[in-house]
């Protein structure tokens, strides 16, 4: 058993030491250009969704919000508050009640 432990110790040490450069081939690092999906889908709900569509799509796509569990109204209020205060979301104060309403209606929990 002691023998086995020592062997293991040697093994993990070996995994951490640097291998002389001549053993390893230099990996190629080549310039990369990609395209990312735009994530421009709107919140469903027609005009009920106007406020959330106008204010909540700049930093992340709607699926971030739509995949959230149902939450109590207070939790949604604090989420919207966090977006404004912490993440500096440029949101019109007057739109906040309509946004919270939408969230409570579609993803609310008592």
């Amino acid at each position: 058993m002691r023998h086995a432990t020592i062997m293991m110790g040697v093994l993990s040490a070996a995994l951490l030491t640097s291998t002389p450069a001549w053993v390893q081939q230099a990996p190629a690092i080549t310039s990369t250009t990609v395209e990312l999906p735009s994530g421009d889908q709107l919140f469903p709900g027609g005009s009920d969704a106007d406020a959330i569509n106008n204010n909540c799509l700049a930093c992340h796509s709607a699926d971030m919000v739509l995949n959230q569990p149902a939450l109590p109204k207070a939790a949604w209020e604090s989420e919207v508050g966090k977006m404004i205060k912490t993440y500096r979301a440029p949101i019109d104060e007057s739109d906040v009640p309509a946004i919270v309403d939408y969230l409570v209606k579609t993803k609310g929990k008592t």
């Binding site: 450069a21 990369t32 250009t33 990609v34 990312l36 106008n54 971030m64 995949n67 959230q68």
Partner: protein
């Protein structure tokens, strides 16, 4: 700021203006995800459980779509059944801010080392390739992996168990880079930043810090390769910080700036976000307040079954091969045990090859026939420090550090 980043931010902001002025014209509804390859139902604690499966992201195969912009892509569980290393094109993806450069020029890219150092450095990838090279197998796991199983539910990415992956990372020791710059006495932390930027300029930029002794422990590294190839852009091309045994929040992607600090980092992503209750398993009672919070750090042991899903049926009267993966967290796997009697008795599973203490470890067992009916199969990992997965789930407001035993319900027919 690089030109392409400017573009991305302008685009993000004009998206908002556009919405204001044009309303819904020209944009699609959230339900029409034309590019989905079907969907998957996640076994999380509640609705919505349905997620699209997508291959629409660059350098990625089929992934579970948690969020399109900025991308949150989860690795389907069956990928972990195929091997101990997670292929680059199936490795999970997690970003905070949507201004992600979509083009990185390997020749002009520079990593800056600055702050409380004797000599500021500006290193190209060629400079790093000339330095002594190290390789290490390590699990990268999101702090919020498995958040979707928290009950009561908490906001945040509703991951099942696939916000983790294991890779062989190749690069240089952070210590060697810091030594080259020469840390001045009084340097107490090292702060890391990548090329990604907030959408709104005054919002908190994503930055993470490690204590100087941790940064210089010879294990923390700057990786330029993952499983023998350059990193996929969405996993941090061209350079990523590797912090073995620690949650992924510290593994800064597209690492471009290293700053030695002579004061503790009080930026939002260290001081407020990614903090946990300073309690065993970061566990509190829902609603509990006045708890001391500390930055999240070391990972804890976990284990998963990978070849059968929750709710599977097995033929009675026959042995069943059950296998999976485990990891010890910040140290190696000592053992994986399983129980088919709700945790009353435990048997040892057979461990697979050891790829080092920070790696996934495969385990397997040949289960003797079970009586007809419903059973629960539990696996639990004990790490080399003697830390074992708990039987009760933890809870905290952020959905961090889940490592409870995850029972699997099976029916023998």
């Amino acid at each position: 700021m690089a030109h392409h980043q400017h573009d991305a931010r302008t685009q993000a902001l004009s998206r908002r203006t556009l919405l204001r002025t044009m309303g819904i014209a020209g944009l699609t509804l959230a339900s029409s995800t034309a590019w989905a390859d079907g969907s998957i139902r996640l076994p999380i604690a509640g609705e919505p459980r349905e997620r699209p499966l997508t291959h629409e992201f660059p350098q990625k195969g089929d992934m579970i779509l948690q969020r399109t912009r900025p991308p949150l892509l989860e690795t389907p569980m069956e990928v972990f059944d195929r091997g101990v290393f997670t292929p680059n094109d199936r490795f999970y993806v997690r970003w905070h801010w949507a201004v992600i450069p979509t083009s990185v020029d390997a020749g002009s890219f520079r990593l800056t080392v600055r702050g409380h150092v004797n000599q500021m450095l500006s290193l190209s990838t060629d400079d790093l390739l000339k330095m002594p090279r190290v390789e290490l197998a390590a699990v990268n796991q999101c702090s919020g992996n498995s958040r979707g199983f928290f009950s009561p539910r908490v906001p945040g990415a509703q991951w099942a168990h696939g916000a983790m992956g294991n890779a062989r990372w190749t690069g240089v020791r952070l210590k060697d880079v810091l030594d080259r710059a020469g840390v001045k006495s009084g340097g107490i932390q090292v702060r890391f930043k990548g090329l990604d930027e907030p959408v709104v300029p005054e919002a908190p930029d994503f930055k993470k810090s490690l204590d100087i002794d941790h940064a210089r422990d010879g294990e923390v590294m700057i990786a330029f390769a993952m499983n023998g190839e350059q990193l996929p852009l969405l996993n941090g091309f061209p350079l990523r910080l590797i912090v073995p045994g620690w949650y992924s929040t510290y593994w800064v992607k597209m690492l471009s700036d290293i700053e030695v600090l002579d004061r503790p980092d009080d930026n939002y992503w260290m001081a407020t976000a990614y903090t946990i209750p300073d309690t065993l398993h970061a566990n509190i009672t829902p609603g509990q307040t006045g708890v001391k919070m500390v930055p999240i750090s070391r990972m804890t042991p976990r284990s998963f079954v990978t070849n059968i899903a929750d709710g599977a049926s097995l033929p009675s009267g026959a042995n069943a091969d059950i296998r999976g993966i485990a990891f010890g967290g910040d140290t190696g796997v000592a053992k994986v045990e399983y129980s088919v009697d709700d945790g009353r008795t435990w048997q040892l599973a057979t461990l697979g090859e050891d790829h080092g203490k920070y790696s996934f470890r495969r385990w397997q067992t040949n289960l003797p026939p079970l009586a007809k009916g419903g059973h629960s199969f539990m696996a639990r990992c004990t790490n080399l420090a003697g830390d074992v997965q708990p039987a009760e789930p933890n809870w905290n407001n952020s959905g961090f550090m889940r490592n409870v035993i995850e029972p699997l319900h099976i029916t023998t027919t």
